[in-house]
Amino acid sequence: MIYEHSRTGRRATAQTNPEMAELSDIPDALLRKRPAGLPEVSEMQAVRHYTRLSQKNFSIDTHFYPLGSCTMKYNPRACNSLASLPGFLSRHPLAPDTHSQGFMACMYDLQETLKHVTGMHDVSLSPAAGAQGEFAGVAMIRAYHEARGDTARSEILVPDAAHGTNPASAVMCGYKAREIPTGRDGDIDLDALKQALGPQTAGIMLTNPSTVGVFERRIKEIAGLVHEAGGLLYYDGANLNAILGKVRPGDMGFDVIHMNLHKTFSTPHGGGGPGAGPVGVSQRLAPYLPVPMVDYDGTDYVWLTEKERPESIGRLSAFAGNAGVLLRAYVYARLLGREGMRRVAEFSSLNANYLLKRLMEVGFDAAYPERRASHEFILTLKKQAKELGVNTMDFAKRMLDYGVHAPTTYFPLLVPECLLVEPTETEAKEDLDSFVEIMRTIKQEAETQPDLVKQAPHTMPVRRLDDVRAARELDLAWKGDS
């Protein structure tokens, strides 16, 4: 804890002047009485503390990190340095256009690239992450229906395999979320869908390839059905990595889409964020896109705001979203180019299908063995859990001991004891092979010394943590030595 290095009167940084400016014109009643309890440490103590803390993390830069649905691939370092050029870092968000043409050019180009690669008619970059993109998308669906006076539509359909943000976003937009079951082959249960559709249907949120790691084959048929019912189709772009440059959501019939640039466009995940969740729409939804957007009038780049776009669902952040993330994605897009984008889909699929096949060979069960994997796939450890009493969580924790981050566990919810594995295109074959070896070893351990696995991890800075106690005896902030 940084507070453990804190001492009253310690002030070993060179950051500020030793004298403090006057505050005498501010009435006492508005001032703090006691200083805030912030740490007072030396600059070196802070540097040492946070350097060492960082070393306690697994990360892409240190470990294989096949966290399904999250696309943990290499984040090129050039994206960081170029987005951090002084001119970009010091630009005030409200700077006039005369002092913004360089930045706006990047944003415009990025909008264009995202339009083309998704097949949509228009793109707004402002949502700060996937979930905010979903919110924007569903809000646009709502705005569209409302503009047509079609106010009876109250439901958004979501597959049971959908990410939690999908139903949560629907609700934030004032809709009811209604679940559609997934069929045994991993595709949506079409009959159930047909039954659910009706005049109350505002739209459906789909991921394709879906969160069970397979491509929804009857997507055109689904699009037809939903459109027929008067609903719109929302595309959750979290899995765009699987199809980048190969198929486009716009061509599948989607009306609105978000992209997680921190996945497909490889901006860093930063220990939880920031990300960026631009939204793309078909022509009929274009008026509703969130502002601001950037346009090019032939000589200059200009902002489009509420004024120019009165039907917009409005603004989702005070300024223009996570600009620095967008710059990183832009640099990535330029480094890759169109060939590189297509290769993303090709090699992430190659890695996933290869890894799945190898894992099946060493005795693991695929959730959808008869299907092609997309860029990710699901194993189910049902058998191991039942026969050996070693469950998915145990496998996951044991992997940490072998120096790989665990895949996503227990999501999607419909597959019991599941591991959602996404190797990404930036991992080499030999690293996939070594992952197979690790899985084989853990399986053997589970068979011969199950406690070793159930007690894992053994080599991390802490052993397995007591989550129940964390939630029951809430300790959410340091309160001083006690």
Partner: protein
């Protein structure tokens, strides 16, 4: 192949294992008619060297004007160590700490962040970030509506002294759930919430009153009275504060008798560069009893199998990945890296350092205001103390003045005339600790020229840097 490590041999071996003869076959479940051709409209790839050249040119194009613009984003000093540490791969390229044992670095740091934010705001608990200050306000509003069980109206009192962009964002986000934001005017003399306007809502059903400190005009609100009034009228008090100001101002948790119930705001002043508006981060703190209504990640301290302390995501039953449509919010990816920077920033600055920084901003803004008000017909609009922004009235239209200043490479402030037509020709100026006396003198002299020139010639529009 940039970033793709496969050799031709690898590819062949892998295809053989899979049992297909080309990569393209892996896409055979996708209907043929959907497959796209080469996307000609997307430019071809460029090596890093060339992209660098392009980006350097573009970054240079935007110049580095002298910035007296605040209005929600502030040009502060950031210790060099902050981003050198924050961009360490282990922070920069990890994700949400789902595997706690392999993420103690991020988790402990977030716990420290929560500790610092509660210390700064005087609240009990903090989440681990939201997207930005404006969306944090929207989440605070939604949270208040859920938490104030006595209120049924879904109505919120929202003063006009709050940042106009924040009000718009809050509206965009909450309106779909039928929540109404009712505006409250301000006192033309003091620039504070108009208490008589407020009084007209006394006794009505509102879930919460939003109280900004400082407010959008830079002015300090009478936070004790406002908090008392809200509580007396069955409303929650939502504080929206500048975290740097909290180092010297009375913390939200101590406003009135019982303190504010929820405290949110924009974290940018804590270590985030201006960077065109983002990424920044929203913070959200509250009373312990409201914690289950709080959106966003929360980290808890616990123990491991050996009783050794450790940190983990907790209260996840509020979140979308567990609760789905019944979650407190849809947020998933948050602004973790910005919080990493903020935590390191606060640790290096220290409590005293932040106070000095805050006081310097206050002092420089007062100096700026005096310098500009020494010019003919330039005057401060509101009386009373401010934090680090002030509204000034100019003898020419705000738009013209700011354009002319920009042509001199000075960002002179925020034009209030669109959002507050009644304040026509007024601008909001800000001088942080980075704007020293020389800078202030430059602004003054440029403005003097602009004012002098106004009647003679139309202002020059192209920047001169």
């Amino acid at each position: 192949m940039p970033f793709i490590p496969h050799t031709e041999d690898d590819i062949q071996e892998m295809l053989a294992v899979i049992g297909v003869d080309s990569i393209d076959t892996l896409f055979d479940e996708i209907p043929d008619e959907l497959r796209c051709d080469e996307l000609k409209a997307i430019p071809a790839g460029m090596p890093e060297m060339e992209v660098s050249r392009l980006m350097q040119a573009r970054a240079r194009e935007d110049g580095q004007p002298l910035c007296f613009l605040g209005a929600g984003a502030y040009d502060h000093h950031i210790p060099a160590a902050v981003w050198q540490l924050t961009t360490r791969g282990e922070f920069y390229t990890a994700y949400t700490p789902y595997q706690a044992e392999a993420s103690q670095g991020t988790l402990q740091l977030l716990y420290e962040y929560q500790s610092m934010m509660t210390a700064l705001t005087g609240m009990d608990v903090s989440n681990a970030s939201l997207y930005d200050g404006a969306s944090a306000l929207a989440e605070a509003v939604l949270m208040a509506v859920r938490a104030n069980r006595k209120s049924k109206s879904g109505r919120i009192l929202m003063p006009r002294t709050l940042h106009p962009l924040y009000r718009r964002v809050a509206h965009s986000i909450v309106r779909n759930q039928g929540i109404e934001l009712v505006e409250v005017g301000y006192d033309g003399k003091t620039g504070k919430i108009d208490t008589s306007a407020l009084e007209q809502y006394a006794g009505e059903d509102f879930a919460a009153l939003v109280i900004p400190q400082p407010n959008f005009f830079g002015v300090l609100e009478n936070v004790d009275e406002l908090t008392e009034w809200a509580h007396a009228n069955g409303m929650l008090a939502i504080a929206i504060v500048n975290p740097l100001a909290m180092s010297i101002l009375k913390p939200a948790g101590e406003w009135g008798e019982d303190g504010a119930d929820i405290c949110c705001g924009e974290g940018q002043p804590m270590g985030a560069p201006l960077a065109s508006g983002g990424p920044y981060f929203g913070f959200l703190c509250c009373r312990e009893k409201l914690v289950r209504q709080m959106p966003g990640r929360i980290i808890g301290k616990t123990v491991d199998l050996d009783g050794k302390p450790g940190y983990a995501l907790t209260l996840q039953a509020r979140e979308q990945h567990i609760r789905r449509s019944k979650a407190t919010s849809n947020i998933c990816t948050n602004q973790g890296l910005m919080v990493t920077a903020a935590t390191i920033h606060m640790a290096i600055m220290g409590g005293e350092g932040l106070q000095h920084m805050a006081a310097a901003c206050h002092g420089n803004t007062e100096k700026l205001s005096q310098a500009l008000c020494s010019l003919p017909q330039v005057e401060s609009v509101f009386e009373g103390p401010v934090f680090h922004e002030r509204v000034l009235k100019l003898p020419l239209s705000a738009k013209d003045a700011l354009k002319a200043l920009a042509a001199h490479n000075v960002l002179g402030g925020f034009d209030l005339s669109d959002d507050y037509p009644e304040l026509d020709s007024a601008i909001l100026v800000c001088a942080t600790e980075l704007r020293g006396e020389e800078d202030i003198e430059q602004y003054r002299s440029k403005l003097e020229r602009v004012i002098a020139a106004q009647v003679q010639t139309p202002c020059q529009l192209k920047p001169d840097w």
